[in-house]
């Protein structure tokens, strides 16, 4: 009896140990912001990079969701205790917490999405994106597609990685006006005063709906929500109103793919390929080539891009598509400046 018990306990312990041994030699860990790992855009895209690395490089992968910003520091700390070879923190809002943790634990490798430290910290690699390049294309496209002559945008929080989308969108539309003698206006963001519409959160779908409704009431027929999962609320509104009345431009991931139920409302998406930069960072760390600094994703490197039009493939005129190709080439070779 006693031996039987011991055997049972022993096999349970062995089972635990086996899973521990099975775990990979190198583990990449991700801390999300309050949007959560399944936000259909921001955190999920970064997590895809970790998962790709898991599949192709054979590294172990873990994530930890933050429910509140008071969790950031605690979450990073519990991953430090959990033997992570690299900790990837996702989002500008984790900037302070990551800096504190990186300085307190100089041996631990960190990488943060959407934040660049100046001066750089030797054990932190920042990943930033020239999102305005892709958003510029989206602005041009939207200006060419609108029937009311009014576009709308709103953001999550007034922070640089959000407003850079709105800057690019605004300037893309302005460039369309300049090239075609049109008069398309963009509501929700003023690039000069740096003021605009913000939900002040990255998680309320209700806000996404309400803000899109307000813009729609003001005449906008294409809206760019730059607030992670909040945009899903806007997509639900577009789904109800019909895509003739309101179209949505997705951000971060190609939302046609990640939000398939509402896929038909997305004219396109401004993709920010966090998955490819995160994968890149993990690969560097695995091969011992990790060093602190900044990694920039651009249109040229494929770090940012405009997603396919999917259901709108036939609706977008060929002439507009050709112009977009020309502008893309112009941005890459530097002949068109997306910054004013």
């Amino acid at each position: 009896m006693n031996n039987g018990l011991k055997l049972a306990v022993g096999s349970v312990v062995a089972a635990f140990c086996a899973t521990a041994v099975m775990a990979a030699d190198f583990t990449a860990c991700q801390v999300t912001d309050t949007g959560g790992i399944d936000d259909n855009s921001f955190n999920q895209t970064a997590w895809k990079g970790v998962q790709d690395a898991e599949a192709e490089l054979g590294v172990g992968a873990r994530f930890l969701e933050s429910q509140a910003e008071t969790d950031y520091e605690a979450n990073i700390n519990s991953l430090i205790a959990g033997d992570c070879d690299i900790i990837i923190t996702v989002g500008f809002l984790l900037g302070d917490a990551t800096e504190t943790a990186a300085k307190a634990n100089p041996e631990q490798k960190f990488s943060i999405v959407d934040y660049a430290y100046d001066p750089s910290i030797p054990n932190v690699l920042g990943q930033v994106y020239a999102t305005d390049e892709a958003a510029f294309l989206a602005g041009y496209l939207a200006a060419g597609m609108t029937e009311t002559g009014i576009l709308g945008t709103f953001g999550g929080i007034n922070i640089p990685p959000v407003t850079i989308f709105m800057d690019g969108f605004h300037r893309g539309a302005a460039y369309y006006n300049q090239q075609n003698g049109a008069d398309v206006t963009v509501l929700g963001w003023n690039p000069d005063t740096r003021e605009g519409l913000f939900t002040n959160n990255f998680d309320s779908l209700d806000d996404g709906r309400a803000f899109a409704q307000n813009l729609y009431d003001e005449g906008a027929d294409i809206v760019l929500p730059v607030a992670g999962p909040v945009g899903i609320g806007s997509a639900a509104l577009a789904d109800e109103l019909g895509v003739d009345a309101l179209k949505i431009i997705g951000v971060d991931a190609d939302l046609y793919e990640t939000d398939p139920e509402k896929g038909h409302v997305y004219l396109t998406s401004v993709t920010k390929r966090m998955d490819s930069t995160v994968y890149d960072v993990i690969e560097r760390a695995l091969n011992g080539k990790f060093e602190g600094g900044v990694l920039v994703g651009t249109l040229e490197s494929g770090g940012v891009d405009l997603a396919p039009f999917h259901d709108f493939e036939d609706a977008v005129p060929d002439e507009l598509k050709q112009q977009l190709e020309a502008i893309r080439a112009g941005i890459i070779d530097g002949s068109i400046s997306v910054a004013e």
Partner: protein, 379 residues
């Protein structure tokens, strides 16, 4: 709270009178413990239903235990999470005792925390011995005044505090958004709503950084313990506390006994708000060192559950706060070790509350854990 006089035999009634605390003890101690137990079992079933395999479920509960009490850093995290919950929970418990259902702790946490942070980054050059108490006091006063609005509305116009505190919560969210954009509050060089950093002299000092720089336990723990003792003394040893409890038990009787009902309502709400404000100050000065729109993080709502679980008794609230703190800290470890979603912790917390709120259900599930008489009493 205790069952009415059981209609049993005379000897049963005499027995009940001889040991009146038995039923109370069961309600206060046995029911919560069993509620936690059932919640954990149902939590495991929930995991099982979502295709989590058995070893993972086992591992996740081991992680829950390890992450809450299994190491020094786990205990530090548990205590850190317990502090604001206990402080705000005490406030809500005080309200319950006085017959007030204060849903507004979330707003009071925000307003108190904002005030503490504002004082905390102003007044450069003050010594810590003055600056820190001043910042805490600002948090308590601001939270107290904000809650008193609802108390005054109730006393003066009869507006129900449940409605008015919910509305005040909504106002506080927007008020904090607005405040954080003011030039003298917003951090320089930032366009998003984030306050300046609290000066070192106003920070609640971290206590264990000499062991490990990552330990977050801070001096707020003394604040929490002191608040528990003070509120216990206030409720059960002072005239004011008696008036609170009398008004809660029977407002009419209290009024006929010559107590000033309106004043008691305003005072009770004010003190509840002051405690919630301290919870906010605790977060602003001890954990974050700044304020942002979401820094209250639902503490004010979780605190309602803490007060219910603690049966509105200060010591009970402390234990409930520690339990919820342990669930929060352990839940994090659960996610790291077993990859189980942290949402499960929310489910377990909710289940605990459901069973606490239904003591009869717990009694019927575990009849052997309770004295026979209680069962007779229900028939």
């Amino acid at each position: 709270m205790t069952d009415p006089q059981p209609p049993g035999t005379l000897s049963d009634q005499l027995l009940d009178r001889a040991a009146p605390d038995r039923t109370a003890f069961e309600d206060l101690v046995v029911v919560p413990i069993l509620a936690v137990f059932i919640a954990l079992v149902l939590g495991a079933l929930t995991m099982f239903a979502t295709n989590v395999d058995l070893p993972t479920i086992g591992r996740s509960y081991v992680a829950l235990l390890e992450g809450s009490v299994g190491s020094l850093s786990a205990i530090s995290e548990t205590l850190t999470a317990a502090m604001p919950l206990t402080l705000a929970g005490l406030g809500i418990a005080l309200g319950f005792r006085a017959g007030l259902f204060n849903i507004g702790a979330e707003g009071q946490v925000l307003i108190g925390g904002m005030a503490a942070v504002i004082v905390g980054f102003s007044f450069d050059g003050l010594p810590a011995a003055i600056h820190l108490p001043l910042a805490l006091l600002a948090g308590a006063i601001a939270g107290g005044l904000y809650a008193s609005i609802a108390g005054w509305l109730r006393a003066a116009t009869g507006a129900h505090e449940v409605i008015s505190t919910i509305m005040l919560n909504l106002i506080s969210y927007r008020l904090v958004d607005y405040l954080l954009r003011l030039d003298f509050i917003q951090r320089e060089g930032r366009a998003d709503p984030i306050s300046r950093s609290v000066l070192e002299t106003a920070e609640l000092p971290r206590l264990l950084t000499w062991i490990d720089a990552n330990l977050r336990l801070h001096a707020g723990i003394f604040l929490m313990l002191a608040a528990v003792v003070v509120i216990h003394w206030l409720l059960f040893r002072t005239k004011l506390g008696f008036e609170f409890r009398a008004s809660g038990a029977s407002p009419d009787a209290a009024r006929y006994a010559g107590m000033r009902a309106g004043l008691i309502i305003v005072l009770a709400m004010g003190m509840a708000g002051a405690l919630a404000g301290l919870a906010g100050a605790n977060q602003g000065l001890g954990v974050l060192g700044r304020a942002t729109p979401g820094f209250s993080a639902g503490i004010g709502f979780d605190a309602i559950a803490v007060a219910l679980l603690g049966r509105s008794h200060p010591y009970g609230v402390l234990l409930a706060g520690l339990l919820f703190g342990a669930l929060e800290a352990g839940g994090r470890q659960m996610q790291v070790d077993a990859g189980v979603s942290i949402d499960l912790i929310g489910i377990i917390q909710a289940l605990i509350i459901v069973f606490i709120a239904a003591p009869l259900l717990v009694r019927s599930l575990f009849p052997w854990a309770f004295r026979k008489l209680a069962k007779v009493g229900r028939e």
